[in-house]
Symmetry: C2
Subunit: 371 residues, 2 copies
């Protein structure tokens, strides 16, 4: 076995991870602290404040779970779902499917509201399903990474006209790139990841819980099976108790802290606009090449851009040419879109004009080159 | 809020994390790869081979869980325990207690075999408890971090004289510092962490499963609730399927890979001897100061050394003097040993003669200094 590891310098334009700014990588080299060190507690407090700003929330219980975005999804569902209760899950892509799968694993009787992958939800169907069910929890993926579709989490709060509801939003591919407005949109629980719009390395899942969500969790019939992702235990460590729970992945948190600082220095609004602008440049370039975007303009994500693979073009050959000749990673389609779309992440540091221009040129060349 | 974060350079001699070699930190700065990149797959294969060497096993299913040691414990118990089955849990410290708690959360009827914290197990009691129960799973903490006690996982295999048993060993504080001999000791499932004997930053949990353990998992009545820690799903990503599961914390895995390479370059035997030698130097120094070790010599861990706080000495004051005047972190006692012991980690890079000499001098000074 080779003892040295020198991976190529990829330009990561898939569904994440995205490339990390040198300043954020550098932050991981700060001296390692123990998880009970008073100076580390300061770092945790700062991360919580920074996350509240980026989530646009005042939620006290806002912190990082020591796992990836999938651990964030599991944290929200495992804690919020009581055995046997109905949960409304909106599904129009792979990550909606995953929420349905996890909700079922965690004991929910899942009431699905389906749209075709890449098609918008009919909110009247969501309301009807909620009205007819006994569900208290309703979930929606804000940025559906499998299709490039932005779903209307801002419309979920209208469900409260029917009755009280706990609204759960997956913001894995939107946080730091799109406005999520947790408080403005009255979302009760949300989870994200470190390696997309936030611009830190993969490994952490930011989560936030409203008082309404916490009340449901406190009133569970039994604690959730999971100890590692038990919100009440985690909050005893992140909150003022500082009760030992697990050994924090401190260097990952240093990196996240630095990435969050960079977001606030840039300004949230400016960052969203940058992601919108560079996505727009990409779309213009794609359309100028005669290619077609999958998602209608009003539902398009800026962070994750999906392009239809043109007829007669071999999806896999183009991606491997991009990877091997240009060191550029883009994502393939999933499920019904396997072989049908490319998924192009323009997130964090990689949402910039030159990266877009390079990608367009390389993509054009990769498509034009016959085997 | 301050935007710069410059933590002090601590010497981490608590129960972990331990300081990380510059070479291992440097490895995290290698170019980030996507979790489906063929070059990243090579890195995963190497990590699996390296982990097999350090666990001393040929187990095919050996990989890292993307969470800390606690996630490793949860992975083993959540996957191995079927709802309502009896499980024998040996408890003589905080982490034995935690195994009992997690086993119960995951649906076990827990049969405890207790010894006082810091006291060896009576293996006849373990055998009797196993014989009288219907348990198929028996768990023991190899290196009890709360007391500094090494428990005899090598004696568990004698339970198979009674009937077939799935043996689970917590090697969080032993792997990389003490021999664990997974195959030699016939252990079926084990989990550890990255930040102690291994010498990488905190954030990953190496795990290993024997074919006997996997057979039990494959024959579960239902999949485990947890999706994030589902061994069969994780193995589809780490195994030859390479099926996407979650976005790997690639930089943490780079660091782990480098730390594992350093272990094999040093040699496992040489590394164990180094940990034994430096622990011995520490104990000699402690006894020369007139202080007393908690654990009898034959059960002492080399990685985690527990010292009785002398009568009339204020535990917390000494620790805070070490931290604030010397930038040295040591651990406090837990539970019944709160205020009664200091827990001194000499692990990985910090198991070296000069660190021991410095600590002894600083501890002497901190004890001698009256408030």
């Amino acid at each position: 076995m080779s003892r040295s590891f020198h991976p190529p310098q990829r330009i990561l334009l898939g569904p994440g991870p995205s490339n990390v700014e040198p300043r954020v990588l550098q932050a991981m080299l700060a001296p390692l602290l123990g998880h009970m060190d008073p100076v580390y507690f300061q770092c945790m407090d700062e991360i919580q404040d920074l996350l509240r700003s980026v989530f646009e929330t005042g939620n006290r219980v806002t912190f990082t779970v020591s796992g990836t975005g999938g651990a964030g999804m599991e944290t929200c569902l495992a804690n919020l779902i009581d055995e046997g209760e109905e949960v409304v899950v909106c599904v129009n892509g792979f990550f909606g499917e995953r929420m349905a799968e996890l909700a079922a694993r965690w004991g929910a009787r899942v009431i699905r509201v389906d749209s075709d992958w890449g098609q918008p939800f009919d909110m009247q169907k969501v309301r009807d399903a909620f009205r007819k069910s006994s569900a208290r929890v309703v979930t929606m993926v804000h940025a559906e990474t499998s299709t490039g579709m932005r779903n209307p989490i801002e419309e979920l709060k209208s469900l409260r006209d029917v009755r009280d509801a706990i609204l759960v939003a997956d913001t894995v591919t939107s946080l730091g790139a799109h406005p999520v407005g947790i408080d403005r949109n009255s979302i009760d629980a949300s989870y994200s990841c470190s390696q997309k719009g936030i611009g830190a390395p993969p490994g952490l899942a930011p989560v936030t819980f409203s008082e309404r969500a916490l009340e449901k969790i406190r009133n569970r019939k039994a604690p959730p099976r999971t100890w590692y992702l038990d919100v009440q235990l985690l909050n005893k460590y992140w909150g003022s108790d500082r009760a030992y729970h697990h050994t924090a992945p401190a260097l990952m948190n240093y990196a996240l802290r630095e990435a969050l600082c960079m977001i606030l220095e840039e300004g949230l609004e400016a960052r969203w606009q940058r992601h919108e602008r560079n996505s727009g440049t990409f779309v213009a370039g794609i359309e100028a090449m005669g290619l077609e975007m999958l998602v209608a303009p009003e539902y398009r994500l800026w962070s994750l851009n999906t392009v239809r693979v043109p007829d007669g073009v071999d999806d896999a050959r183009v991606r491997s040419r991009l990877l091997n000749s240009h060191n550029i990673e883009i994502g393939s389609g999933f499920g019904v879109f396997k072989g049908k779309i490319w998924r192009v992440g323009l997130m964090g540091a990689n949402s910039n004009q030159n990266t877009v221009l390079l990608l367009l040129a390389a993509l054009k060349s990769a498509i034009a080159t016959r085997a």
